[in-house]
Symmetry: C2
Subunit: 336 residues, 2 copies
């Protein structure tokens, strides 16, 4: 790595020798796969005979590295998960880097290695990228934008329009871990803890769920948390969404931090969770299938769909109901 | 627009109500097309029976609006052009916004309108997007990342590997206008001028060129300019690239600014230019086809490929030769 120097210079983004070396010696080495050619303007994808899905997401998380992941693995998982919950098999990624002048090359390499590792674990190929360098003071270290392309899984057709009253809402594990872990990693409020981000691919869960004919819809509860997923469903379907505090899993540490700081874990981001809406007749079977997966032990019923006035409510452990409105303020900027 | 307020707040990026309204009332209105559904995690693309190409690019240009374009039209043209020069027909775009807190919503709307207009002109559909808001001071106003997907044009197969000695290098107009126009728009060095960016789709030119069986390769001379395209070809093919100062078009205003400030126009970005390498037997016909296009009057021979030691040289008007090395320094950051 010595040839690359120790810190990013403006010249690493100018199209010339330094950029070519950065791409060739750092990115190409960690992203290597049969579909990647860093010398072309656009990548030719191998032919497919199924329909395609496409998604894009930018990542601005601070700090860039946190317990359980970093901005690189987060970008891969976030993009893979957006495809997975849509009923697609993720196949190809593009990644664009906005790097601030002065950024440590060792750190960039750790993050690139993490991207490469996460992509291999998810069996997706990085096929195109871009590198721009921002003058010192005009960027927060590193921002990533990933786009993903997936092939449609045969026979799977999911949408909010399929959701009916009495459908059951499942979640594959405790919610709010990512948002809370990133908050703790900032050392804000003098708090520290052992909590790790849940950042992970949800492919094992979406693959298992797609085998159920009664699966209506899936979504990953990232920005805005599971309460925001509830609001999106409610707005689109006009139905009443009931989340159930007695069954919806939240880890003790997340609950402790949230109680202390006044956050609601239902609005905090998870990055390895999936919410599924399923026909009530298949809910138990799907829940058991999820619980049988490694790491799926805490999958649970999150709530249900009800007929009646459009809204999202939390049925509390005390038997009351609390309205879960759409998020207005941003309690935690730069969380994903 | 009143409902959206006047300036971007952190809450416009939190997944909640403000973000939904921003997407629904501003982006969706300007980007509307039959393939766009802002309520899904990933967009289903209509089926195609040809191979696909994919590309990605981030845009960090300063100022965001300049004579001849803005960051929005630039993002569309840059992405469309990367597909066009690869022998693809651009079909779908994704656009991700990194917006700094406090950004004017009127300005965001002008840029969104420009994106929508450019996309319609290029006949591409925006199918997915993302919005993140950076806390004040952590972003330079607005950064965009666009990814593009195109379908392979039947019978067209371009690559640097096809380039042979004696092939002719053509360019569809004067080079360096974009870089120089952005520099002037900054008001740097107290300079002002009437120069407009050449930012445009090169599709009319790539479509015309693809009809020639002797077309080997095309590239758009953006970051690093036409000298960098020469170096990329030379590095990959091991051939000697000769650019010809007597025929390679540079506008008087670009030359004047460059002479004054010590820049070389051959290293400055164009954003509506395409460089084609073509069999010498078809060079004149292709040049005439380009010159017959609206705006193509100044298309010209830029140089030729020669056998011999790998390098890029400029044959000067005085009959001498000047080495055009790979770019090292970045003379003009945030140009595209």
């Amino acid at each position: 790595m010595k040839e690359l120097g120790t810190h990013i210079m403006l010249a690493h983004g100018n199209g010339g020798r330094f950029m070519r070396e950065l791409i060739g010696e750092l990115f190409a080495r960690h992203f290597a796969n049969p579909d990647l050619d860093t010398g072309v303007d656009s990548a030719a994808l191998p032919p497919t005979d199924s329909g395609l899905f496409v998604t894009t997401d930018s990542f601005i998380v601070d700090p860039l590295e946190f317990p359980g992941g970093d901005i690189g693995s987060l970008a891969v998982h976030g993009t893979v998960n957006d495809l997975a919950v849509s009923g697609a098999t993720p196949q190809w990624l593009t990644i664009s880097f906005l790097i601030e002048e002065g950024f440590e090359i060792d750190r960039l390499e750790r993050i690139a290695a993490s991207i490469g590792r996460a992509a291999r674990e998810c069996d997706v190929h990085i096929v195109a990228g871009d590198t721009k360098v921002l003058p010192r003071g005009q960027g927060g270290g590193l921002y990533l934008t990933a786009s993903g392309i997936g092939t449609r899984t045969s026979g799977v057709d999911l949408s909010m329009e399929k959701i009916r009253p009495h459908d059951v809402i499942l979640v594959n594990g405790p919610v709010g871990d990512h948002g809370t872990a990133v908050l703790l990693a900032r050392g804000a409020f003098g708090l520290h803890g052992n909590l790790r981000s849940d950042s992970a691919s949800v492919l094992p869960y979406t693959n298992a769920a797609q085998k159920f004919a009664g699966l209506r819809f899936m979504r990953d509860p990232t920005r805005g948390g599971i309460a925001t997923v509830g609001n999106e469903i409610s707005l689109r379907t006009g139905l009443r969404i009931v989340l159930d505090e007695t069954t919806l899993p939240v880890s003790d540490e997340v609950r402790g931090v949230c109680d202390m700081l006044g956050y609601d874990p239902l609005y905090l981001a998870s990055e390895g969770r999936v919410v599924a809406v399923v026909d009530p007749g298949e809910a138990v079977s799907l829940l058991n299938a999820w619980r049988a997966l490694p790491g799926g032990e805490r999958a649970a019923v999150a709530g249900s769909i009800e007929a009646g006035r459009r809204c999202v409510v939390l049925r509390t452990t005390l038997g009351g109901e609390r309205l879960l409105d759409e998020l207005e303020d941003d309690p935690l900027p730069r969380i994903c």
